[in-house]
């Protein structure tokens, strides 16, 4: 386990920058090599080649690829990620809108999946090979193997169209759309800040279903991993010793076992969260959720490189930052690393 001295932190930040730069180069090259040409999407299918050439020049696509890259990195360093062809807006403005939508959904999903997944996995391990374990296994298997698309549509049919328990697709009902001035971009937070409870509850009714559906597949993974971590620990000597001392199962699990699997749990939670933040494309499409997954998909469809590159950078940064945070969490959760640091 690494120490977290200022030097180490600086090294990590340096690593992050290098990795992001490498990511940028790869994405840039792939994007430029692909046959998808954004010019056609702008000038239209019937335009003559002169119009194509003029637009290509305007977008700087006529320059050699290395030159395009230098220009891109230059503006990037000035904080300018360019303009998205998709929307005509600066990419930063688009991302500032799309990312909070995904963030809100993913955060809720990861909370739900942790609250259910971790206890489920632990109980399944404790009651290994009993009916409970079997049911937990089936639940996880279903969550892991049935496509989210199917769950999304079926969920909408049952809970929205038939039972009317939840709101429909989109972040909020049409008649409330656009009434809240975005401050954080998180609709649940913004509506509460404005004291607009109608919008808040409406937004809750809209987010519940997609969040639960996303949470289900993440939960399946978390529960399965928790189960195997727990099983591994149950055979350890310290558990046997605790049992011999007469400690209750509850005490063993909460006092001894949980701290021991906490580090591993944090890692898989970070992975799950990263996966969800990446933009659950399918869920976002089924639920007309204007998040980063949908934004990137649309950008890919027309070869909108500025949008794709910026989105890739954001996702790359998220993964690396999550990784960094989960490493930091080791420090807190694992006493051995603490001693080394002291």
């Amino acid at each position: 386990m690494k120490e977290f001295t200022p030097i180490e932190v600086a090294r990590r930040v340096g690593q992050l920058a290098v990795s992001l730069f490498a990511l940028l180069i790869v994405t840039f090259v792939i994007g430029r090599v692909l046959p998808t040409d954004p010019v056609g999407a702008i000038v239209g299918e019937l335009a003559d080649p002169a119009a194509f050439a003029a637009m290509r020049q305007k977008l700087g696509l006529d320059l050699p690829i290395y030159q395009q890259f230098i220009i891109y990195v230059g503006s990037l360093l000035r904080g300018d990620l360019g303009t998205a062809i998709l929307t005509g807006n600066p990419v930063t403005k688009d991302l500032a809108k799309a990312f909070p939508a995904t963030f809100e959904l993913a955060t809720l999903a990861v909370i739900i999946s942790t609250i259910i997944g971790v206890p489920l996995g632990m109980l399944a391990a404790l009651f290994r090979d009993t009916w409970f374990d079997q049911i937990a296994r089936v639940v996880s298997l279903v969550g892991h193997s049935i496509p989210v698309f199917w769950f999304g549509v079926v969920g909408l049919v049952i809970f929205y169209a038939t039972l009317a328990w939840v709101g429909g697709p989109g972040r909020v009902d049409t008649y409330l759309d656009g009434l809240i001035e975005p401050r954080t971009g998180l609709l649940l937070v913004d509506s509460l800040l404005e004291g607009d409870t109608e919008t808040f509850w409406n937004a809750v009714s809209h987010i519940v279903l997609p969040a639960c559906i996303l949470a289900y597949s993440a939960m399946a993974y978390i529960a399965r991993m928790t189960r195997s971590f727990t099983l591994e620990q149950l055979n350890q000597d310290y558990v046997i010793a605790a049992r011999a001392k007469g400690a209750s199962s509850r005490r063993i699990v909460i006092g001894h076992l949980l701290p021991n699997i906490a580090v591993q749990l944090v890692t898989i939670l970070a992975i799950s969260y990263g996966g969800l933040l990446e933009g659950a494309v399918v869920t976002e499409i089924v639920f007309s959720w204007p998040g980063i997954g949908q934004y990137m998909t649309n950008a890919l469809m027309i070869g909108d490189m500025n949008a794709i590159l910026a989105g890739t950078l954001v996702i790359g940064t998220i993964f690396m930052v999550l990784n960094f945070i989960s490493d930091l969490a080791y420090l807190v959760l694992d006493p051995r690393t603490r001693e080394v640091t002291q």
């Binding site: 003559d48 005509g88 549509v153 929205y160 709101g167 049409t174 008649y175 409406n202 639920f287 469809m301």
Partner: protein
């Protein structure tokens, strides 16, 4: 203790919040129209740039044109109160109207808009360019006589009727020249600004456009006509068809206009909903590369025409989206000739292949956009052609890829779709019979026939003659002859299905009048009480 206090405070807060929870309601307000659509292709609301159908629906509401084409394909006045046609041109009298900025609509604005169209030189301008207008001559052909009088001279390549139809298209929308000129940058005619903003005189103003999310239109208080009944029109991006279907059933949207064929079909027989299928005058086409062996042989092209099970594809895949037709003029339009014998007849197809020297068939690639219904059509065509010994490999791509390859003549077979430039036979034929110069150097990549490398000098000459012919009877004769020649030459641009754009609307929505270019005006839409 602190724990207890925080807990009870947060508990009370939660209880308060819960007590405000409303009862779920799912119904659109009576004075608002909500349309579930796909905004994925809406990249620009500049009328002289955006040609995509979903864009047209926005332009229809925000801008006016001199004239419009109603749901029966009849020309009607819009900004022009009246017009007189003479031998050399058309003189328009404009009505009193104001742009949403408050500026009056004058003949100068119309001139500005048409000049802008040709100078911007985007795809949109091609419809005027193939009528003989160009960036160089437009300023001499379109003139403001006075504030309210406009004169447009005819070119040698067009008739007054054709010109009027072109003026009814979304690309001819009249923009507020004063407003747009304020936003000129880098010689772009205000394109950068008008791409995301609007400056029109239509019944609605563009309140908000969030790409890939919503378009909000609000009634224009200064509109020259009677005030729109719907104070707001909301277009919501619902990319997944099944989701849109559920929202429509539930009453969260009033109209769905981007449903897949199976989802449209699910509303058949449901008394609460009506299906309006608008005939757009265009076709789903099988483009063949006539420069490549063996497609260069007319017999081979005809064999393929005999090798496709149009009936079955229409019934199982296209449903409300298409109807079999191999002549590029919709069956019920004036002057359309009967369909040739081309239907699924594998024996005839094989005989033709044998005659052309390919008794054992051959292999081809078929390129298509990876979207329904075209990708499903490709699979069906692959299966059909296998039965006549033609092995087809399907290559899918996104819109931009496939169009780029089509433009670059880089394909064996490809499935594009055509559109009618006018709601008449000649307008529907246009994409199929125009190819002034087939040489590669001509780089006429906007032209469908050129892309197939199909040299049709004779047909093109007749097309030019027909377009310039003012005598209706003579013109009708030429139109008939054009269709016959087209079929006789075994087209490399083979029409397969007439295209329709189906929408499903709640029956309480009244007065929604579809137009073939999706320029659907909404000012007369009303909603009756829901049953």
């Amino acid at each position: 203790m602190t724990y207890l206090i925080t807990r009870s405070i947060s508990g009370a807060a939660l209880a308060l919040l819960v007590s405000t929870a409303p009862i779920a309601k799912a119904e659109t307000p009576a004075n608002q129209l909500v349309i579930g659509t796909s905004l994925a292709q809406v990249l620009s609301v500049d009328p002289q740039q955006g040609t995509e159908p979903k864009t047209q629906e926005i332009l229809a509401a925000v801008y006016d044109r001199l004239v419009y084409v109603d749901e029966k394909n009849q020309l009607k006045p819009q900004l022009a109160e009246s017009w007189t046609v003479d031998q050399t041109g058309i003189t328009f009298k404009l009505r009193d109207a104001k742009f949403s900025s408050g500026n009056p609509v004058t003949a100068k604005d119309v001139v500005f808009s048409l000049v802008r169209l040709l100078k911007l030189n985007q795809s949109a301008s091609s419809y005027f360019k193939n009528s003989g207008f160009s960036a160089d001559n437009i300023e001499t052909l379109v003139k403001a006589v006075d504030q309210k009088t406009l004169r447009i001279e005819l070119t040698k390549a067009t008739t007054s009727e054709d010109l009027l139809y072109r003026l009814a298209m979304g690309i001819s929308s009249v923009v507020d020249s004063v407003e747009v000129q304020k936003h000129f940058a880098n010689n772009d005619y205000g394109n950068e600004w008008l791409r995301t903003n609007a400056a029109g005189s239509g019944p609605y103003v563009l309140r908000r456009w969030t790409p890939n999310e919503t378009v909000i239109l609000e009634a224009n208080k200064d509109y020259w006509g009677s005030a729109p009944k719907m104070v707001r029109v909301i277009m919501r991006h619902v990319p997944e068809s099944q989701t849109a279907r559920l929202m429509l059933e539930k009453g969260d949207i009033d109209i769905a206009n981007a449903l897949t064929a199976p989802d449209v079909k699910s509303f058949v027989g449901n008394a609460k909903f009506a299906i309006d299928a608008t005939k757009v005058g265009g076709f789903y086409v099988l483009a063949m590369n006539a420069a490549r062996e063996p497609l260069s042989k007319p017999e081979v092209r005809e064999a393929l025409a005999y090798g496709i099970d149009y009936k079955n594809i229409a019934a199982t895949i296209l449903g409300p989206y298409g109807r079999p037709r191999n002549v590029p003029v919709p069956e019920d339009w004036a002057g359309a000739i009967a369909n040739p014998d081309w239907s699924f007849q594998p024996e005839k197809a094989k005989a033709l292949l044998a005659k052309a020297g390919y008794p054992n068939g051959f292999s081809l690639t078929l390129k298509t956009i990876a979207q329904p219904p075209r990708v499903d059509m490709a699979t069906a065509i692959q299966a059909n052609l296998a039965q006549i010994g033609v092995k087809v490999e399907i290559k899918q791509g996104n819109g931009a890829d496939i169009v780029a390859q089509h433009r670059a003549r880089d394909f064996d077979l490809l499935i594009p779709q055509s559109a009618a430039v006018m709601p008449n036979a000649l307008g529907a034929l246009n994409d199929f019979v125009t190819n002034p110069d087939n040489r590669a150097e001509a780089k006429n990549a906007g032209n469908f026939v050129w892309r197939s490398d199909w040299n049709i000098t004779e047909i093109n000459a007749l097309r030019d003659k027909a377009n310039a012919e003012a005598d209706t009877a003579k013109r009708a004769d030429m139109v008939k002859q054009l269709q016959e020649m087209f079929i006789a030459q075994k087209p490399a641009v083979l029409p397969m299905f007439e295209r329709f754009e189906p929408i499903v609307r709640n029956v309480n929505v009244v007065g929604y009048s579809p137009n073939l270019w999706a320029l659907n005006r909404l000012e007369n839409v009303t909603k009756t009480a829901k049953k």
